[in-house]
């Protein structure tokens, strides 16, 4: 038989944080430190693609990043563009796919296509 009725406490009902919250929190923290910060977001995907639309990566001016926009194969190229955007470049949409020779060089080997929006946090 159950005993007396204990009450639920706030600590018991706290949900776990989502990956995306960690990315957004890190972007805000870097910005608060005065670092240049950019966000990269998956806009659209076609075919096989490891990260769905809305997935985000935050990167600072030192090239440190959290989060992901692919299985790791295009992060390098995205970070290079992100550094340019945070240095004053316009926000931009990057396209990667097997039909794109440059993208193939950076290794989107899964056979899909993906568009990434890159913007500074200003």
């Amino acid at each position: 038989m159950p005993g007396p009725r204990p009450r639920a406490t706030l600590a018991q009902v706290t949900a776990t944080a989502h990956d995306l919250d960690a990315v957004l929190a890190q972007a805000a923290a870097w910005r608060a430190e005065g670092l240049g910060v950019a966000l990269a977001t998956v806009v659209r995907t076609w075919g096989s693609s490891p990260r769905p639309a809305g997935s985000k990566l935050a990167v600072n001016q030192r090239g440190e990043f959290v989060g992901s926009v692919s299985g790791g194969c295009i992060e390098g190229a995205v970070i290079t563009e992100a550094l340019e955007v945070m240095a004053g470049g316009a926000p931009r949409v990057l396209a990667f796919g097997v039909s794109d020779a440059t993208a193939w060089e950076v290794g989107l080997a899964c056979g899909g296509k993906v568009e990434i929006f890159v913007e500074a946090v200003a």
Binding site: P6, Q12, L24, R31, G54, F117
Partner: protein, 224 residues
């Protein structure tokens, strides 16, 4: 993104307030919106993004990325029984934040459920504190009407998108009668999934968990 907008977005997520981040991909504009305050041309697309929980691009007249930021999916499992742990495991992998409720302290122990959020309050009190929303599923597994019934009565009074109860067809009929006599409206009873789970011939606890999560996902995605 302006730092102020980033702060607004984080605040909305922390408060569990559903919003859509709309980003004009030509860089001309970016803002948070809901179906109530979105530009007229985007109202339907903003509502769709929140409902499906999928980011989309609305192309006309210029491409706008619509990213839904919904509160996290939650699964409240009432009954720290043998099916609870495999269900918690596969549901966690599917993106649900898990809470296991059982006032029987011999059942709801950290040793049996390492790392799980355990609530040892009575189920109706626990559900009042957990406040299920439209992104929450509630499943009762105890087989004990003293525990299941108060949980189901409380859950059916919330916007939880899924309420299910483990039990046979026969016990489910008895349950419906009991809950109806207890004042639960017929329309609310029709929301109750029982016997719980998709019919996949599940036998083991893990297979039963797959069947339950399958039904939860089918309900969430409008395929049930």
């Amino acid at each position: 993104m302006r730092a102020a907008l980033l702060a607004e977005l984080r605040a909305a997520r922390a408060a569990g307030r559903p919003v859509v981040l709309a980003t004009w991909l030509d860089g001309s504009d970016q803002r948070l919106c809901t179906p109530a305050d979105a530009p007229a041309a985007l109202t339907a697309a903003v509502a769709d993004a929140l409902r499906t929980d999928q980011a989309t691009v609305h192309d006309a007249p210029t491409p706008v990325l619509l990213e839904p930021h919904n509160p996290p999916l939650r699964l409240i499992i009432v009954g720290a029984v043998h099916v609870a742990e495999p269900l918690a495991q596969i549901a966690a992998v599917a993106g649900f934040a898990i809470t296991i409720v059982d006032p029987r302290r011999a059942f709801a122990t950290a040793a049996r459920f390492p790392g799980r959020a355990l609530v040892t309050a009575w189920p109706d009190d626990a559900l009042a504190a957990l406040a299920p929303d439209a992104r929450t599923a509630v499943v009762t597994l105890t087989h004990d009407p003293k525990l299941d019934d108060p949980a189901l009565i409380a859950a059916l009074a919330t916007p939880a998108f899924y309420v299910g109860c483990l039990g046979s067809t026969k016990t489910h009929a008895a349950r419906r009668t009991r809950l109806g006599e207890g004042g639960v409206a017929a329309a609310a009873l029709d929301r109750l999934h029982g016997p719980v789970g998709l019919r996949i011939g599940a036998r083991t606890p893990a297979e039963i968990a797959v069947s339950i999560l399958g039904e939860i996902v089918a309900t969430l995605r409008g395929a049930a």
